[in-house]
Amino acid sequence: MALPKAVYKMIEDVVGEEWISDDPAILVAYKRWMEGAGELPAAVVMPESTEEVASIVKICNRHKIRYTCFVTMETRCPEPGMLLFDLKRMNKIIEINEKDMYAVVEPGVTRTALAIECFKRGLQYPVASVVGSALVGAIAKGIEGHGYMANRFSDGRRHGLAAEWVLPTGDIVRIGSLGAGAGWFCPTGPGPGLDGLISRAGIGIVTKIAIKLYPWWGPRELTVETLTNPKTGAIAYRTKLPEDKFKLLLFQMPSVDELGWEESLKKLGEALYEISKAEVGTAVFKLFNFPIIIEGCSTMEEFWEKYVTGFFQKETSRIITVFIEACNKEDLEYQEGVVREIIAEHGGKEAPREFYDEGWLIGKCLQLDLATTSILLGISSCRVQKASGFGTSACGVDSIDTVVKWGMGVPEVRKEFVEKGLILDAFDSYWIVPTEYGHMAVTENLIIGDLTVPESRAAVLAYMDKMNERNLRERFPDIMFRFHFYGDEHVKRIGPLYSNFHIWQMKVKKALDPNLVANPKRYIIPEE
C-alpha cells in the first residue's frame, strides 16, 4: 500500500527527495523483526530536525497517515501502509554538560557513541540496554531497556530528563524544566509530571532528550584489544580496565544438580538480596546461561560441539556476575570483600579461571573479559541471534522475590516444547537483574528456537503465550509493556484485571492523538 502521491510529495518537499523513499528494495530492509517479519512500510522518511519531524507529523495528522519510528530492535511496522520515520540522521550529541552531569541527545545517537564521548569527560552513561547499538532514542520510544548496571544506576526508565516532544498533532512541547525555561536538568513538573505520558511513540515523537550521566573513574579512552581465535580465525574484542578500580567477578552458586531447580534459585535470590542491600557492585546479576555459552565460542560449530557434551549446562547453572567500579583500590577491596563474604555465606564459589582469562582463545571455555565490554558499552557479538533466533518471556519488573518465584515455573512451561524438539533445551536461560540496590529486579527467559523453521517459530510464540497465560492464572504481574505483541483483544481481556488501565490509556490516546495516527498498534486503539 503506497502513500497518496500528494502526501508523498508534501513530505518530500519537507525533507528533500533523497530522504524519503518508497523503493521496494529499500522498504524490505525495514521489514525484518526478531520474531519474524513485520509489515512493509508505505515509505521511509529520514528527517534531520525537530522542525522537519513536526512538519511531517502535521501532514500525517491532516491526511490520517499512520506512522511509527524505527529504532534498533524495534524495526517493524505493525500494519501495512504506514509511514516509517527512520531517525538516524538526528544523531547529534547536542551537549554534554560536565558540571550538571547530563547529555542532550537526538534520537539517532547510539548508546555506545554516547558512552564513549562521556568517558572522555570523566563521565559515564550507564548503558541501559544489553544492545549497545540500540538508539538512545529508544528511551524516547519507551523501550527504555534495563542493561546490567541497574543496581547502582537503576535502568533506562529513570535516566531520561527534560525532553522536546512532537505531539501527534505536530505541536512541539517541552517537558519539565525545559518548558519553564530552566534548562534540561529535570523531567518532572511544573506540577503534575507530564513526562509520565512520554512513551512508546504512541503519543508523538521525542526529538531531543537529556540523559543523566554519572562519574567515571576509568581511563578517558578505552583501549580495545582484538583477539583472533587461532583455530577458527574468529575475532572478539576485549577492553582492559585499571585493576585497582574495576573488577569482574563470576561466582558459581549451588547448582541445579546439587539443590534442584527451586532451591538453587531461592539460594541465588537470597545472595542477590544481600549483595544489593549491602550497596556494593555497580552491576550485580544472574545472567542467562545460553548467551554465556555462546559468547564463549568462536563459531556456531564449536558451540554445538560443546553444547552436546552438557558441560556448559552443568557449569553455568546459577552463576552470579558482579562488576565492581571503585573510586580507588581501598574501595575496590572493600566491595570485593563484601561480595565474597556474601557469596560464601550462600554456598557459592568463584568460577574457574578459564571462565575469565584466555579460555576463549584456547577454545577451552568462556572468555568473560568480553563481558566488561558488554556491561559498559552494551556491545556483544550478538551470536545469540546468529544461533537461530529467540523469543523472550517475562513477568513485570517487581521485587527479587517476585522474579524468583516466577522463574520457578520455567521448567514446567518449557518441558513440552523441549520434548517435542521444537526449541532448544536452553537450560537456565533466565536472567535476574536487581535494580536500585535491590529494591526491584528485572527478569527475562530466553526461548531459543529456529525461526526459519515454521514449527519451531510457532513453538516460540506458543511458549510466550503459555507464559502469559501462566502470569494471568498465577497472578504474576504482566510485563505490561508489550501490548503490540499480543494484540488488542488480549489487552481488552486483561485490562479489567489491571485496574482497567486500557480504558484510561484509550482516553489519553484519544485526547492527544484524535486522528489515531501515531503508532496506533503500539498503543491501544480506542474503539473506533
Partner: protein, 495 residues
C-alpha cells in the same frame, strides 16, 4: 431544605454525622494558612476513614458539582494548597491512619494518607529500617503527601528520579473510579497477586505515578501509597564543614556526591545558613538562638558517613575518600560542630526524625513563615542565592532573618534551594513587606532560571503563564481524570 444541607446530610450518611464538621471555628481555621493565598472558608470538613467513603464523597461532589479540597497533614500549612480556593468541601484524610505493611525484606512501607512521619518513623526503627525523609518535616506531616508532592529527601544517593522514593499507589480519580498504579495494578486483587507491588511504572504505557505527583490532589485522591525504606546503618558518623563562600560549598557537595563507595561519600547531606541552623538547634529560646546565630558560620555543610555490612571498613573507606577531597579543596571537615560545639548528637538525631516540638521550627522566630523554594542544576545554585538578599534590602526586610536550606537531590544531579522568611502575622506592615519580598523574589528567581517545579499559591500563575504548551496538555489530562473539575479547583491556576 437547602441543597447544601441535603449534601451535608448525604455526606453524613457516608462517613457518619460526627465526621462531617460544620463548626464555624474549624471552618475558619481551615480557610487560611501561613501563605499569602486569600483565605476562603469551606462549608464543611469531612473525614473519611476508608477508600469506599472517599469514592462516595467524590461521587457526591460530582453530583452536586461542589469542589473538594484534599488535606492529609496536620497544621501548620504553608503553601496555600490546602485552602479551598473555590470553597466547597475539605476532604480531610487524617483519619485514614493505617500502616498497611512494613516489608523489611524488600524495604518498603505501605501507608494510608493520614499516617504521619511522627507515627511512622518509630515503627520503622523497630524494623531496622529508615525513611529517606525530607529535612525536619513536622511530626504531623503526611508521609504520602510529602512524597506525592515531591518534597526533597535528604539522602540523594537513594533517589533515582524526582519522584523516588514513591512507588505504587491506590487512587480514586476525580471521576470516582478506583485505580492502582505500577505492579499494584493487578492482575486481580492485592490479596491474589504474586508480587510485592514495588514497581511504580505503568500499568501500560503511562507512568501514572509521575502524572499524579505534584498535582496537589487535582487529578485524584490517593488512598494508600507504597514507599521505599532503606536499611538502617550499623554505624553513622556526622561531619561538619563551615563555609563563608557558597560557591565553594556547592563544589564540595558535588565532590562528595561523585566519589566514594558506589559514587557517594555521604548518606544524608545538606547545607543550612546560620539563621536556620540557629533556629533548629536553640534549646533555650530566645537567648540561645541569639548566641548561636552569631557564633555559627554563614553556611554549614552537614553530612553523614554510614556503614552497613562490614560497617567499620566501609566507614574507613569513606572517611579516607573524604580526606582526599578535603585535602584537594583545602577543607577541614570535623565531627564537632563549628560555632555550636556539643550539638552534634542532637543534629544527628534531627536528621532521622521529624520535628516533634511545638511550635514547628519555621515558626519559632516570629510565629509565621513564608517559604520560597525551587530546583536548580548544580552549576546554577550559587548564582540563585544572592537575588533574595537584594530584594529583601529593597523592601527593608532584615537580610539576617532569612533562613536558607540547600538540599542535593537525585544522586547529586540537582538541588532544592529554599528560603524561609519569618514574619510576625500580627504586624500588618511586616506581613506586607514579607509578601512583597516573596512575590518579587519568586518572580526574579524564576526569570533567572530557578525551576519552580511545585507551583503552589501565586507561583502557579507565574509558572504556567510562561508554559502555554504544557498548559494545553495539562488541561487535556485534567478533563480525563477529573472531567467536572471538582478536585482542588484553582490550586494550579489553570484548572
Amino acid at each position: 431544605m437547602l441543597e447544601l444541607e441535603v449534601l451535608i446530610k448525604k455526606l453524613a450518611e457516608v462517613v457518619g454525622p460526627e465526621d462531617v464538621v460544620t463548626n464555624p471555628e474549624i471552618l475558619e481555621e481551615s480557610s487560611k494558612d501561613h501563605s499569602f493565598v486569600k483565605p476562603i472558608k469551606p462549608f464543611c470538613v469531612v473525614f473519611p476513614q476508608n477508600k469506599e467513603e472517599v469514592k462516595q464523597i467524590i461521587r457526591l461532589a460530582n453530583e452536586y458539582k461542589v469542589p473538594l479540597t484534599p488535606i492529609s497533614s496536620g497544621p501548620p500549612h504553608f503553601r496555600g494548597d490546602t485552602i479551598p480556593r473555590e470553597g466547597g468541601i475539605i476532604i480531610n484524610l487524617s483519619k485514614m491512619k493505617r500502616i498497611l505493611r512494613i516489608d523489611t525484606r524488600n524495604r518498603t512501607v505501605m501507608v494510608e494518607p493520614g499516617v504521619t512521619f511522627g507515627e511512622l518513623v518509630p515503627h520503622l526503627e523497630k524494623s531496622g529500617l529508615r525513611l529517606n525523609m525530607p529535612f525536619l518535616p513536622r511530626a504531623s506531616k503526611s508521609v504520602v503527601t510529602s512524597y506525592l508532592e515531591r518534597e526533597p529527601p535528604i539522602i540523594p544517593k537513594y533517589q533515582f528520579d524526582y519522584v523516588d522514593p514513591l512507588l505504587t499507589m491506590e487512587v480514586v480519580f476525580g471521576t470516582g473510579d478506583e485505580f492502582r498504579t505500577g505492579t499494584a495494578s493487578g492482575p486481580g486483587s492485592i490479596e491474589e497477586m504474586q508480587c510485592d507491588m514495588v514497581n511504580p511504572f505503568g500499568p501500560g504505557d503511562i507512568k501514572y505515578f509521575k502524572l499524579l505527583s505534584g498535582a496537589q490532589g487535582t487529578l485524584g485522591i490517593v488512598t494508600w501509597a507504597m514507599v521505599k525504606a532503606e536499611v538502617k546503618p550499623r554505624i553513622r558518623k556526622i561531619y561538619f564543614v563551615p563555609f563563608e563562600n557558597i560557591e565553594k560549598m556547592i563544589e564540595t557537595k558535588n565532590r562528595l556526591l561523585r566519589y566514594g563507595v558506589m559514587g557517594s561519600v555521604a548518606d544524608e547531606i545538606l547545607a543550612l545558613n546560620n539563621f536556620n541552623l540557629a533556629v533548629i538547634l536553640a534549646e533555650k529560646w530566645p537567648e540561645e538562638f541569639e548566641t548561636l546565630r552569631k557564633s555559627l558560620p554563614p553556611w554549614m555543610l552537614i553530612f553523614c558517613i554510614a556503614g552497613y555490612r562490614r560497617a567499620e571498613e566501609r566507614v574507613k573507606v569513606q572517611e579516607n575518600c573524604l580526606m582526599e577531597i578535603a585535602q584537594e579543596l583545602a577543607l577541614e571537615p570535623t565531627q564537632s560542630m563549628p560555632g555550636a560545639p556539643g550539638k552534634e548528637k542532637m543534629m544527628l538525631e534531627l536528621l532521622s526524625k521529624p520535628w516533634g516540638k511545638e511550635p514547628y521550627w519555621k515558626l519559632r522566630y516570629k510565629g509565621s513563615c513564608c517559604e520560597i523554594f525551587f530546583l536548580a542544576p548544580p552549576s546554577k545554585v550559587a548564582c540563585l542565592i544572592s537575588p533574595i538578599y537584594e530584594v529583601a534590602v529593597k523592601y527593608g526586610y532584615p537580610t539576617s532573618d532569612i533562613g536558607c536550606y540547600i538540599q542535593s537531590i537525585v544522586q547529586g544531579h540537582a538541588y532544592h534551594v529554599e528560603f524561609d522568611l519569618p514574619y510576625n502575622p500580627s504586624d500588618p506592615k511586616e506581613v506586607e513587606i514579607t509578601r512583597k519580598v516573596f512575590m518579587d523574589a519568586s518572580d526574579l528567581l524564576m526569570r533567572m532560571g530557578g525551576f519552580f517545579s511545585r507551583p503552589y499559591g501565586p507561583w502557579a500563575q507565574m509558572v504556567y503563564s510562561r508554559y502555554g504548551e504544557g498548559v494545553i496538555l495539562l488541561k487535556k489530562v485534567k478533563d480525563i481524570f477529573d472531567p467536572n473539575h471538582i478536585l482542588n479547583p484553582g490550586a494550579l491556576f489553570v484548572f
